[in-house]
Amino acid sequence: MRLNGVAYERYVEPRRLLSDFIRHDVGLTGTHVGCEHGVCGACTVIVDGQLVKSCLMLAIQARDADVLTVEGLARDGGLHPIQQAFHEHHALQCGFCTPGMLLGALSLLEENPNPNEDEIKLGMDGNICRCTGYYNIVEAIKAAAAALMASKV
């Protein structure tokens, strides 16, 4: 499996969840486990370009796949524009849902680079937050969309 561009090889039981593989077999603990039955979205990662809840995938199903986790967002020591926007707009408090939110936002903006507020809310429906009330998350994603579009000019 390639995680954030780095190849890993491990032996695991078939029942090893992808979320636990990422956290325990590889040691990338940025991916969080909230409910472990696919409702909260905290474990969200991107597998071969697909936004998935890693607690609902077996690690072996991601064999030979390219997996992106939150640790793969920052480049050269600098925050990804989406991370920067979350920071500037105070879109996190405890931070538990945040890795899933960041990847959800990345996936959404790849599909729809200029979403309106309703599209953001619908597009992020797989991620739950207990702290923020979502308002700042939506604002951050709007700002991130603008920043990403500006950087492509």
Binding site: E13, P14, R15, L17, D20, E36, H37, G38, V39, G41, T44, Q50, L51, V52, K53, C55, L56, M57, L58, I60, Q61, G104, S107, L108, L122, G123, M124, D125, G126
Partner: protein, 300 residues
């Protein structure tokens, strides 16, 4: 929680998969497709499997094939593919309307048409639509192929006619009648949750009267319920509020909902009538608002 241990198989062809299911038919094997319903149950140990047969490698089951009689789709077609398909929007707009309400964005990336139907949650959107549209399920095993109508496919909660050695490989949706409108409505406390009740309706109008109608309700029994009584009463009638309200009541009378934390049986029955009426109303309005020239389908 974590799943209990199981043996894992990942066949790379349909033939290999059918061979495995036959060999494992007495070994408590379960098919793993998108995993969006099965994995939560395995994680919480509400379900256990001795063997998991992962069919995600069967790319040949992910397709859509236009037929004169309708649209045939492979069982491994992902919800996301259905959601974005122009063919589906053109020929089975009821699916296009309902799929965005199935789960959430992550669920729709992985979840499959066949998986949702085989899982047979009576509250789920796709089984309700399959029943409304008289979809046909193509079921295969090493012994052969059989076709099962949606009305016969769902037996009870989470129970279909699928034998342990059988795989649902294709779903055929018949084409909509010309000049028809459709609607899918669900009552749910939050977006993405399983509906408390849902209604799927297709109405075609001829000379101001209902020429043909399909109505199915979800979340109101052990399986989705086709409202035959309401349909019979509606044919030939003008789609007035009184007529549609009566049809909603007839449809609800045919249901036998259970009670759970989301609603009592009385509440579900009451809401079934309301949502049946609303779905019929919306479908009829969409049919009526179609341009007079040519056919076309009214959709949301």
């Amino acid at each position: 929680m974590k799943p209990a241990p199981f043996y894992y198989h990942a066949p790379s062809s349909l033939d290999e998969a059918l061979g495995l299911l036959r060999d494992l038919r007495d070994e408590d094997a379960k098919v793993l497709a998108g995993g969006q319903s099965l994995m939560p149950m395995l994680n919480m140990r509400l379900a256990r499997a001795n063997h998991l047969v992962d069919i995600n490698g069967l790319r040949e089951l992910d397709y859509a094939r236009e037929e004169r009689s309708g649209l045939a789709m492979g069982a491994l077609t992902r919800h996301r593919t259905l959601e974005r398909s122009a063919d589906v929007a053109r020929r089975i707009p009821l699916l296009t309307e309902a799929i965005p309400q199935v789960g959430d964005r992550q669920v729709r990336f992985r979840g499959t048409l066949g998986g949702s139907l085989a899982h047979a949650d009576p509250a789920a959107e796709l089984p309700t639509i399959a029943v409304a549209l008289d979809a046909e399920m193509v079921v295969r095993s090493r012994s052969g192929t059989r076709t099962v109508r949606a009305a016969d496919f769902f037996l009870s909660f989470f129970t279909t006619v699928l034998e342990p050695d059988e795989l649902l490989t294709e779903v055929r949706f018949p084409a909509f009648p010309a000049r028809s409108g459709c609607a899918f409505l669900e009552l749910t406390r939050q977006l993405g949750a399983y509906p408390i009740v849902s209604a799927a309706a297709v109405v075609s109008i001829d000379d101001g009267r209902i020429a043909d109608v399909r109505l199915a309700l979800g979340g109101v029994g052990e399986t989705p319920i086709r409202a035959h009584g309401a349909e019979a009463a509606l044919r030939g009638q003008r789609p007035t509020l009184e007529v549609l309200t009566e049809a909603g009541r007839l449809a609800a009378d045919d249901t036998d909902p259970g009670a759970d934390v989301h609603g009592s049986a009385e509440y579900r029955k009451e809401m079934a009538a309301v949502y049946a009426r609303r779905a019929l109303q919306t479908a009829a309005d969409r049919a009526i608002s179609l341009p007079l020239d040519g056919g076309g389908l009214g959709r949301g």
